[in-house]
Assembly symmetry: C2
Homo-oligomer: 202 residues x 2
């Protein structure tokens, strides 16, 4: 015997959360039972509602409980004619936090990975082709991750965009701002040299 059946089951259920093992699940269960009963009940309710109602935006595929998400319905985001392609909703948040980008997004919810059965259809690329064919986008900005899979996915999407006569760009990769050159890996440094630009004095 470890705990009562219900407490055992709570500790087991909490381990569905990423990064949560038996020890931290136990700590979480005790913390909620000891001093967060109402917060815990609230979490149970919201979690149930979220998993029942949150699906994908019909247009950009990000997570939303609405048919079409807030970014896609905002007419201001259409003005620039830009469509930024990212791998996950977390990437949208990261880009939005810079406050620099005013266009729309398309969220792949992954990257091409044939061995895992993730092909163009799983990433909604047919939907993306439709979108580029029907709406007047000026530029597709590829912001997939700088990994082998992310690059392959970027190439694949670039082809789709070019076949629709839409300009394609890729976000820059190189030495991070504030980073030290000697601490950057060779691959990044190589990228950084290949992507060098004419230095203008002003």
């Amino acid at each position: 015997m470890r705990f009562s059946p219900l407490l055992d089951e709570l500790i087991k259920s909490l381990q569905v959360l990423p990064g949560v093992g038996p020890k931290s699940a136990q700590r979480m269960a005790f913390a909620m039972l000891e001093r967060q009963r109402s917060g815990g009940r609230r979490l149970a309710h919201v979690l149930d509602q979220a998993l029942e109602h949150i699906g994908h935006c019909r247009q950009c595929r990000t997570f939303t409980e609405e048919r079409v998400c807030g970014l896609c319905t905002n007419p201001k985001r259409a003005v620039s004619g830009q469509l930024c392609i990212v791998e996950s909703p977390a990437d949208v948040v990261a880009i939005e936090q810079t406050g620099q980008y005013q266009g729309r997004y398309f969220v792949l919810m992954g990257h091409l990975s044939p061995l895992d059965g993730v092909g163009p259809e799983e990433l909604g690329l047919d939907k993306l082709a439709d979108l580029l064919a029907t709406e007047a986008y000026q530029e597709v900005i590829l912001a997939t991750n700088p990994t082998v899979e992310g690059e392959a996915t970027a190439y694949y999407i670039a082809d789709i965009a070019r076949s629709q006569d839409v300009n394609v760009s890729r976000i820059a990769h190189g030495v991070p701002i504030g980073g030290e050159l000697e601490l950057v890996d060779g691959n990044t440094l190589t990228h950084s040299f290949m992507g060098r630009k004419v230095f203008s004095e002003q």
Copy 2:
């Protein structure tokens, strides 16, 4: 705008869990939405049930959804006549995992801490006194933590036990088995010297 209202609320609600900040709450929400929908729904259900039904054992105060917990109802645990006093249900688990202790427990659910309003009543010490007066215990084993508060609590309980003519012992503190002497703090080492025993050759 960060996410849809429901997703925002899920990320906020998850932060009720100890050690979970905005970043990991976001990662947890995405992980469940992406690939753990049924595990997440199960967690929501179990969490709700646990927080509604789990209370404290009427006898030892540990967490249980029953009136009296499994350890307290098991007649085999009464044979030794030992009662081990611990601060939390996690301590019960730790001691049970050694497989060496066969007696019962009393779980304080904290330690004396007058500044935080935790006095003898909050720790159920009136209930403990009743228990020692009505049941025939041979020995009270004090296993509160070796902290200032844990020690003060141990002293207080020792007085209660002695007033009922019950033997009182304190678990040993010293250098951990397998630990290196030079890495142990001075306080533990002092304890370890004061608690030294005659070395018997056998």
